[in-house]
């Protein structure tokens, strides 16, 4: 096998590791990985890490998974162990050190009495075991034996399974330099003894180098490509290798990257309700050039197309407003007063985020914090915990809608534009702090649509600390929903309000 093929295998192994670690590497990227490996080699791990990171990990959320996969395959401790092994006692023996022949003889007497152990006696002749141990073996299963370097020949009998239970002979060698069954070695080559373990990439590469697939079935000469069966076996071996490596390095997918995991971890009813809302939602209209459409005349394009007809504008191009993609900003209250519905709120935000084209999520108690990344990185309950554990989020603070609106308008002004619909989830209670309805009004002017989901029925709005009635005047729509079922009920209303 050429070393180029070995690189293929390494690239494939790395790809599998990446996927196990939650980095979605495409086949095209693995080809790139293969090219990078060929170009840089693995001598400079720092450069290799940077290069492979550029090739595979393209999202911030994939960086950690990439690092773990890289450490698992190319990491320092692996390297240390490999070099430590190499510097240990020499492991190369001459071929003469091991038996090269496995004889299977046909004619053999049946065991003569019940406790007579045929094999123990036979094998015993090869070893200088004390006589007391011969002929009687109380533990029939414990008859493993090992062959030392002095034994050239090893014979066992095929008819010897005359014990009460069947006896199976297994010859385990670390590495035989022949792949023909019945031969342990076919040529005089130095045999490298030692474990072929998954954490020893050097020896695997050496093995891959030494491995000659055309030898596997007798001596069919000529360099051939792998047959399908061989390929399947190799693939299987690589798969096993990767799994072993992954389990050793404690590699597992991040809680939630793939869609399947995500969908599973989301509670289905909230997800369904959000889907209903988003399905009916339309983005802000945006002028697109259309021939003979509605809207204003597009002078530039009309003049352009009239040039074909000698300046006579036969074709009028209009700037027709067509709905654009949905852009959403979710402002979610996570303060203690709405803690019972916080989970619902964040699930809603998460589901919206997963479904909408462009969606930003800000959580707030007294000031808004962008938690889009945190929601994206993890899934399920972890996401909620991750959001609530955000360093910038002061959960003990008293909720302050006025300040929140203030900061959204100044510090996060880039999130607001005339094509974004804003959805606020919260109870509108600022505990006596100024509600700053004027700021909400200013916000309403800057965005496409504004809707509010509150968990409290409107009979509680009139209480002193609740500014909901004032906020409601500004909003396009206020929905009362404290769980997914109620949200699904109002999905159409909400969607119409937001589009």
């Amino acid at each position: 096998m050429r070393s180029a093929d070995a690189l293929d295998v390494v690239a494939a192994v790395f790809g599998r590791l990446l996927r196990i670690a939650g980095v979605s590497a495409s086949p095209a990227e693995l080809i790139e990985v293969r090219r990078v490996l060929g170009l840089l080699g693995a001598r400079d791990r720092v450069a290799l890490r940077a290069a492979l990171r550029a090739t595979c990990a393209k999202y911030a959320r994939e960086q950690r998974g990439f690092d773990r996969a890289f450490d698992a395959l190319f990491g320092e401790q692996v390297l240390d162990r490999a070099t430590a092994d190499a510097s240990g006692p020499s492991r190369a023996h001459s071929q003469a050190g091991l038996p090269d022949e496995l004889e299977v003889s046909e004619d053999q007497e049946i065991g003569r009495y019940a406790e007579y152990n045929e094999r123990a006696a036979e094998v015993g002749e090869h070893f200088d075991t004390p006589d007391a141990d011969k002929g009687f073996n109380p533990h029939k299963d414990d008859d493993d034996f090992s062959v030392s370097g002095a034994d050239n020949q090893l014979s066992v009998s095929a008819e010897a399974d005359e014990g009460r239970r069947g006896i199976k002979y297994t010859v385990e060698v670390d590495r035989a330099s022949s792949t023909t069954v019945g031969e342990l070695s076919d040529t005089v080559v130095p045999i490298v003894a030692g474990m072929l373990s998954f954490d020893d990439p050097d020896s695997i590469l050496a093995w891959l180098d030494a491995y000659d697939p055309s030898k596997a079935y007798g001596g069919e000469a000529g360099p051939q490509h792998l047959t399908a069966a061989q390929l399947a076996r190799l693939t299987e071996a690589v798969e096993d290798f990767v799994n072993a490596l992954a389990s050793r390095a404690g590699l597992c997918a991040e809680p939630d990257f793939g869609d399947t995991d995500a969908e599973k971890s989301l509670s289905p009813d909230v997800d369904l309700a959000c889907h209903e809302v988003l399905r009916r939602m339309r983005g802000a209209p945006r002028p697109r050039p259309r021939e003979m459409g509605r809207g204003r005349l597009d002078m530039r394009r009309t003049t352009r197309s009239s040039l074909r007809t000698d300046g006579v504008p036969f074709r009028l191009v209009m700037r027709t407003p067509l709905p654009d993609r949905v852009r959403l900003l979710v402002l979610a209250d996570v303060s203690l007063s709405v803690r019972p519905v916080t989970a619902f709120t964040l699930r809603l935000a998460q589901a919206m985020h997963r479904r909408a084209e462009r969606c930003r999520v800000m959580a707030f108690v007294d000031r808004p914090v962008d938690v889009t990344e945190a929601l994206l990185c993890t899934g399920g309950d972890d996401a909620l915990a991750a959001v609530l554990a955000d360093a910038h989020l002061d959960l003990e603070a008293s909720s302050d809608y006025g300040r929140m609106l203030d900061e959204v308008m100044t510090a996060h002004a880039d999130a607001l534009d005339s094509r974004t619909a804003v959805l606020i989830v919260g109870d509108g209670r600022s505990n006596g702090l100024p509600p700053r309805v004027d700021q909400l009004r200013a916000l309403r002017r800057r965005v496409h649509r504004l809707a509010w989901i509150t968990p409290e029925p409107d009979r509680y709005w009139r209480q002193a600390t609740c500014a909901m009635p004032h906020y409601a005047e500004v909003c396009d729509e206020v929905i009362v929903a404290r769980d997914a079922a109620q949200l699904a009920q109002h999905a159409a209303v909400l969607a119409r309000a937001l589009s």
Partner: protein, 350 residues
């Protein structure tokens, strides 16, 4: 041109160290990772997508790379509403019209002996006047990069400002390095351009685009590297001034600002500090106030910075170090929330 020119061979650079040295010649200081990735992009002929906040030297890298590689820089500045007429090509109608006008006499002469109008029309339709040929194309950046005989560096700047439709248009150019013009056919790149895309991360790019590119996240440099950069860009500035300004910028970047000071702003501030010092020593507070105005561009940012700088231990403001200080029930809110949802999905994880 320079020594970099001599080192340069037509196919690219010998290694990342070579590339870093060549960029250094152009006053661009790249750290090891960036040099490796850029070298890889040139060696593998892959487009390189640079993401990061504004003002960390993404565009500058493309310019320096072009200069270091001795290539022409073709720049496509993206903006909202950019359409394919301005990205790929446009037919030069005026020139085509003029061409037909000039040929009019010859056409009249050629059709003089045909009496029948239909036949004359058929005759002309069968003729090729070469109106749809490369000569009548107004070449826009992408086609320019593809058609160029000499190798170029194609810079697609701020690709996140365009719509998704434009990204789709880029895919053909980036992956196949070809441009299809319906009237003529498909142009395949005559030389392999080095493509650099930059994005300010204002929106997520489509994964189709990301997957076709090498990706590198360019962040604010380490203080040492930033000092080097400022020293190279503003050679007149003394070292201690540079150190002061870089230190101030690093402090500011830790504050929750709308826009953190970029490298170019730090260079400006260093120049400003030199001038202030030359004009005569003023008190430190006044100097700092002026420096802040070169580093910060929003009044709210300025307020935050002044407040924090005046009060060295920011007491109530939420900082990254806070959660460790707070030991209350509310600092572990996960318990209540997860408890509320136990048994309702997400239970597969151990």
């Amino acid at each position: 041109m320079t020594a970099a020119q001599v080192l340069f061979n037509r196919n690219g650079f010998d290694g990342s160290a070579d590339l870093a040295a060549a960029l250094r010649e152009q006053d661009y200081i790249a750290d090891d990772d960036l040099a490796t990735v850029v070298h890889l992009a040139t060696a593998l002929d892959r487009p390189l997508l640079l993401e990061g906040p504004a003002g960390v030297g993404k565009t500058e890298l493309a310019k320096s790379l072009a200069a270091a590689g001795g290539r022409r820089l073709v720049r496509l500045q993206c903006y909202e509403g950019l359409d394919d007429n301005r990205v790929l090509y446009e037919w030069d109608y005026a020139k085509q019209l003029l061409h037909v006008q000039m040929l009019r006499d010859r056409i009249t002469a050629a059709t003089a002996d045909i009496d029948d109008l239909d036949e004359a029309s058929r005759y002309l339709a069968g003729r090729d006047f070469g109106l749809y040929s490369e000569a009548f194309l107004s070449v826009r950046p992408l086609l320019d990069a593809v058609l160029s005989d000499e190798p170029v560096v194609l810079l697609i700047d701020e690709v996140d400002r365009t719509e998704e439709a434009m990204e789709a248009l880029l895919l053909e150019v980036l992956a196949e390095r070809q441009v299809t013009i319906p009237e003529i056919g498909t142009f395949v790149a005559r030389s392999v351009p080095w493509v650099i895309l930059t994005s300010n991360d204002t929106r997520e790019l489509s994964s189709a685009l990301k997957r076709r590119c090498l990706h590198y996240h360019l962040d604010y440099p380490t203080p040492e590297r930033e000092r080097d950069i400022v020293a190279v860009r503003a050679p007149a500035v003394e070292d201690e001034v540079v150190a002061d300004v870089v230190d101030l910028a690093r402090t500011l970047r830790e504050f929750p600002l709308r826009k953190s000071p970029s490298i170019s702003e730090v260079v400006d501030a260093a120049r400003a500090a030199t001038i202030l010092r030359r004009d005569g020593a003023r008190d430190a507070a006044a100097t700092r106030a002026i420096l802040l105005s070169t580093l910060l561009k929003f009044s709210s940012d300025r307020d935050v910075a002044l407040e924090r700088l005046a009060d060295p231990v920011p007491a109530p403001a939420p900082g990254p170090s806070q959660p460790s200080e707070r030991v209350t029930v509310a600092s572990h809110p996960a318990n209540t929330t997860t408890a509320a949802f136990r048994g309702r999905g997400g239970g597969g994880r151990r």
